[in-house]
Point group: C4
Chain length 212, copies 4
């Protein structure tokens, strides 16, 4: 239960910050939103890591499941609560920024680019999570939150222009609910994010064979 | 006494930076002020944590009191000195930026939004403080200042537009003295900030039952 | 093998971010690109340090070789895979930003300045790597990735205007392939970067004589 | 000798970055220079702390001397080499940016404000150095460089408008040589910076009586 509360809080503040810093960020959002989003992920990972492992991301939960650090039963619970947290955050943003929520959003300009962007960004994120938060070689470090959060910052600067830069199916749900992307592009996020998490897990297992 | 000196210095530099970076930050303040404010909180937490616990925030002191890591007597002293530090900082800003202090400030556009913003931001801040600076599961870490300071950075980017983003009753006092907000909105800060600290403490206690 | 995979991934994401954040960063790239690039290096160093040492930079590998922490045979493998990773990243950027890749690029305005810039930036970077990731005096620290990544951030802000700010022969290869610099200036990057790495190694050895 | 080389390198790159990021930073320097300067101090502190203590600042050396962690003889050497490093860096900037060095610089608009700004900024910096890098209560931490470097970032955002934001007599020398301030204001930097370091040392001693 305490793990689910922690996952809810982390995902809620992550998606809240995504919505408010992008839709409410005005002309400087291109500079500030990737910082705000990476930072909120960092602080929530540092705050919740010792309780739930601080995934806040169904693709990360998938990667941690394949890596063998969470049971399938627990993973189901994590996935459900992450999507609930994201939805509640989206409703909060829609309440606070009622007049700034777009009435509809265009399709992604190029869904091949968008798919590649979500795949690469999520791969980087899940790769960093597995190596800094679940590997024996980095046990006891004080940098996991910094590394994990700021992976989203740099990937958002690099890849955000192609897909919006979710790198997280729960964030994608929030983004779709807040009309920051079009529901017809749902498959791009689903395939790109879970695909990236999957590949990251296999890379990790290949590079850390002795680390069970 | 050394604890009170430390709380004074930390709160002083926090409120000083709030005033100078917002009122003196010109056209780029929307980008730079949340960084400057989060950073000054980070460095003051790292510098003073080993002496006073580095609250610099009456709502954080309330949360730490409920969590049982400070006595009621000490908390009173912390509250008094935090407000004094904030007031002295506000006078310093009024001296240095005499010509840039607004003569009066408008009411918050929407006090419901403002209340929700102060509540959510302070909840996040107190939640991060309790988990990174007072929990057994994160004992001995080197990231508490980074996590605590940057919580203000991301919450200011996300929520600053609704309430100014104090997340701290002592900062609110400074903000009101410097005419960055209207005294009629005092209740928004009081209710939002102390409410956020209170709820964060109960969430922490629910999620860390074995951690006394 | 796992070391080479790690070096490939790190160099790939570094050069990917260089290309996308500069060429795709629009009018705010002068602010955001140095942050994005320093941050991606930081997260990849934190993620891969425990496997390969996380060089992602042939000039750093040269410095580590002189310092005696990698064998010559391994260094050859690192160099080859770093250049391959950079090239694959450059192709990815050329695919994603096909319409924004310049058709040709001008010569450096002043190659003496460019040479000095690459030399100083790479010297700083290799000096920080050796002292934070290979020195006895800083063993077990949790800051090496932060220090290493952000060295590129500050050197890019300071020196990027003279040479583009590669500070890394593999990044230079990517930069040349993406037409962000002119192939006639290849010698500037080769001489400046390897020269900076070389000098940093000798400074380190002079200052850490007891540290074998 | 190795301590002096380390102090030279750190002060050199600090002043180099001050000059290049401010004078060469164009219209975005108000945003980027405080980040670049704080970051270069951070990385040089992390890289050199285990050798020389990483002062790179005569006012910090004064504070450390009063606190009793450096001998008077060593302090003399530090002061000399810090000013030499700053001067060599200033010459490098004057070579690289020959056409952007102002031919003359105006007096500070208000030297009382400037003096207060230098005093407060240096006080904060020396206070953070003593508490994060020389105190028993924070021994073995991995955050000292982050705390020290970013103190300059936030103080520069807050106070840079009044005095340029040196907070360091060696940086002040460089700033004066590069015509970023007027030599007639030399006393402001000398009095403000050394005064701030002095007061920080006495505050530290008062708050850490058992810590010899």
């Amino acid at each position: 239960m305490r793990k689910l509360i922690t996952e809810f809080i982390g995902t809620y503040f992550l998606v809240l910050t995504v919505g408010l810093s992008v839709l409410g960020g005005g002309t400087t959002a291109a500079i500030t939103a990737p910082i705000a989003i990476g930072v909120v992920l960092m602080v929530m990972v540092f705050a919740g890591g010792h309780i739930s492992g601080a995934h806040y991301n169904p693709a990360v939960t998938l990667a941690v499941l394949i890596r063998g650090k969470i049971s399938f039963g627990d993973a189901i619970g994590y996935w459900v609560i992450q999507f609930i947290g994201a939805a509640v955050a989206a409703f909060t943003v829609m309440f606070l920024l009622a007049d700034k929520i777009p009435t509809e959003s265009a399709l992604m300009a190029n869904s091949t680019y968008g798919l590649l962007a979500e795949f690469l960004g999520t791969l980087a994120l899940a790769y960093v999570v597995l190596n800094t938060a679940t590997a024996k070689g980095t046990e006891g470090n004080s940098f996991y939150g910094l590394a994990i959060g700021f992976t989203v910052t740099c990937m958002a600067y690099a890849l955000g222009g192609f897909s919006g830069g979710a790198f997280n199916p729960a964030v994608a749900l929030g983004v779709l609910m807040m009309h920051m992307a079009n529901w017809s592009d749902l498959w791009v996020y689903a395939l790109g994010c879970f695909g990236g998490g999957l590949v990251a897990a296999f890379i990790f297992l290949a590079c850390n064979k002795e680390d069970k």
